[in-house]
Amino acid sequence: MVHLGRWRKFIAAVVTLIVLVILMSVTARERETILFLEKAIVEAVAPVQAWVGGLTAGIRGGLADLQAVSRLRQENEALRVKADAYDTTLHQLKEMEIESERLRSLLGFAQTVRHTYVVADVVARNADNWFSRLTIDRGASDGLAKDMPVVTSQGLVGRIVEVSNHVSVVQLLTDRDSGAGALIQSSRDAGIVSGQGNQSPLLVMMLFERGASVAVGDAVVTSGLGEIFPSGLYVGMAVEVTKDNYGLLKYAKIRPGVEFGRLEEVLVITNAGAAASPETGE
């Protein structure tokens, strides 16, 4: 019998490291399910994260509020004037909406499917500096599932990558591993938008066509081709157009509509597969 003696701990450590390497290689592929242990930890820690995060955001907000009081007074006056003007515009818009509905039915257009949303609070962000993920306080018990798109009123946020009963993990569009089929709104040229990590606030759109027509200031929306994100969701605005070193591929740098660093609430689209176009939900 081989006597392991003082090597026992060293061998245990090496075996642990080898197991971790194997585990990492296996989980590096796209997973459909998450481990029970993952669910348990996420569920247990999320309420505390939500409380601490809320407290921090509250303190931060309170400090910002104090600084903003005098500025807000002036803005308030200006906004009152604008609000009066908007009231008039609102009436005109209502008229146009009624007219639009009437014309739509006259032309025999199919009723577009409206999105249904679940509102969720952001409770935490990932602990490292390599990925861009956040935790929201809604899960499978609220009807959420993997790959559901997440948005705000400013535009596309990302997609759900992990779901447990009451909590879900969202991969942000700024994550290097993310990707969304997109279109230049004006020219309808297609491409894929992906993130550049936490360090860059800009997204990159790789255009499929070398001769694609894109200019600074063009709006970028989802194309709906990837089967995860419905078409027409606002992604951002082109701020720079470049070509690769060989001139074969065209890229556009996109300033996202969403301020990813300031996300507090998000909307999860629960019927993205069924929805045909983005309209206001419930």
Binding site: T27, L35, E38, G197, Q199
Partner: protein
């Protein structure tokens, strides 16, 4: 069952302190530090705790602290389970090897050692990401690893000092116990 009981017996109050420190770090890291991000980067408080612990208690404790912290991080957010457990356990172990070999009378030497540990952990993560073909910036060591290590050194003295004082308290208790036993033996 006997093994479990033995293990629980050996689980000292020191490990309860470590567990609580890691849990608090994990919560701060995910719920508070995002508000303190500079150019999208945050200090790695978990690694600061692991490295501080390793510098005080040695390689075995450093390895276990790194393994625990990394696994919690992986299971909480990771698509890639094992990535942070591997990197933190490995660097926790090597930080522990330095234990007793560095000058600890001034806070700046351990602080620098913790900064180096955070940097090396980011290097291991970057290498793993590249090896597994997971998108990671080509210059990630410079654009992520170095600034994160630098930022982490700001919180390192606070964490290290707490553990250092705790270890001092432990030593004082140990002395008291062994001293008391010695006196009792003399009386007998």
């Amino acid at each position: 069952m006997k093994t479990l009981t033995d293990w629980l017996d050996r689980l000292s109050s020191r490990h309860v302190v470590l567990g609580l420190a890691l849990l608090a770090s994990l919560i701060l890291q995910t719920a508070v530090f995002p508000h303190l991000a500079v150019f999208g980067l945050r200090p790695d408080l978990l690694m600061v705790v692991v490295a501080s612990w390793a510098l005080i208690y040695g390689p075995r404790e450093g390895f276990l602290a790194g393994l625990g912290a990394g696994l919690a991080q992986d299971l909480l957010f990771g698509q890639y389970i094992g990535l942070f457990a591997l990197s933190k356990a490995l660097i926790g172990f090597f930080a522990g090897v330095v234990e007793g070999k560095i000058f600890r009378q001034t806070i700046w030497v351990p602080t620098a050692a913790i900064g180096v540990a955070v940097f090396l952990q980011e290097v291991v993560v970057w290498v793993c990401l590249r090896a597994l073909s997971i998108p990671a910036p080509a210059l990630g060591i410079l654009t992520v690893g170095f600034p994160v290590a630098l930022y982490s050194t700001l919180v390192a003295p606070l964490v290290y000092r707490q553990f250092f004082l705790y270890r001092g308290g432990e030593r004082a208790k140990e002395k008291e116990i062994t001293g008391g036993a010695g006196q009792a033996a003399v009386r007998r």
